[in-house]
Symmetry: C2
Subunit: 135 residues, 2 copies
Amino acid sequence: MRIGQLAQLVGVETQTIRFYEQQGLLPPPDRQDNGYRVYTEKHGEGLAFIRRCRILGLSLAEIHELQSYQDDPHQPCTAVNALLDDHISHVRSQITALQALEKQLVSLRASCNDEREVEACGVLAGISEGNMHQQ
Amino acid sequence: MRIGQLAQLVGVETQTIRFYEQQGLLPPPDRQDNGYRVYTEKHGEGLAFIRRCRILGLSLAEIHELQSYQDDPHQPCTAVNALLDDHISHVRSQITALQALEKQLVSLRASCNDEREVEACGVLAGISEGNMHQQ
DNA sequence: TATTGACCTTATAGTAGCTTTATAGTTTAA
DNA sequence: TTAAACTATAAAGCTACTATAAGGTCAATA
Ligand SMILES: [Zn+2]
Ligand SMILES: [Zn+2]
Ligand SMILES: [Zn+2]
Ligand SMILES: [Zn+2]
């Protein structure tokens, strides 16, 4: 299997596959005489794992960490679960921050209608005056 | 006022100020004979405006756009309000995406307790099996 | 006077996770 | 045979800074 086929199979670009290899997330495949990469099913599974982790918002560093746990299958999985817990709390704090931000933006937006000149724009005035409650 | 004083006044690093100048967000100040930048109150206001925009999550491009509106104060402020509306809906879609993600992560986490080996970890299995409902 | 320390200058590289571009070699189909 | 489609490497671009390097300037101190 060449890189293009693998890319199509998993739904990524070929450059992304080379990038993961370069980052040490995907083991370097064998090469043909012409230098073309040759992939196995294992690579496909590894790549799909990476992609699913990315969809879950895990960073490449976190994925790398998960992989290191997989290499040691008889350890307790405490660290895996902890990694996920950390990630969940990270996502939650992002949500909280964005919700606070939304509230601020909405109240800023409410301070203007569409009938004014820029000079008198409530939005611009609101930003310039700086009476912002920064969390 | 030199760059260090301005930085302390507004609460940013000196490099950030030079960066904004380089990006065209802050007008180039006059220089002393020795090359040191000399800032006025106007610069302080401009810099504070940029920082408040950043706190609101606006990108440098969006800030640049706002500045261009400010340069033309007798236009209607429709574009300003529209920019904010766009930004709000952007923030909202981020929140929605993160909430969906959180749900997914929590259910993944629930598929494991801390008493297993990595081999049998419900989290890793859940990712590997790939039965993920992508949004 | 010499030298320390705090400040300023520019230029360059690093961060995350790719994507894009440039340049070139290889395979395959018409 | 030639062109399309594929592969390779290396390097730059993206965002919004942050950090580092190597050096010039200035005031105060020893
Ligand atoms: Zn995380
Ligand atoms: Zn307005
Ligand atoms: Zn925006
Ligand atoms: Zn587990």
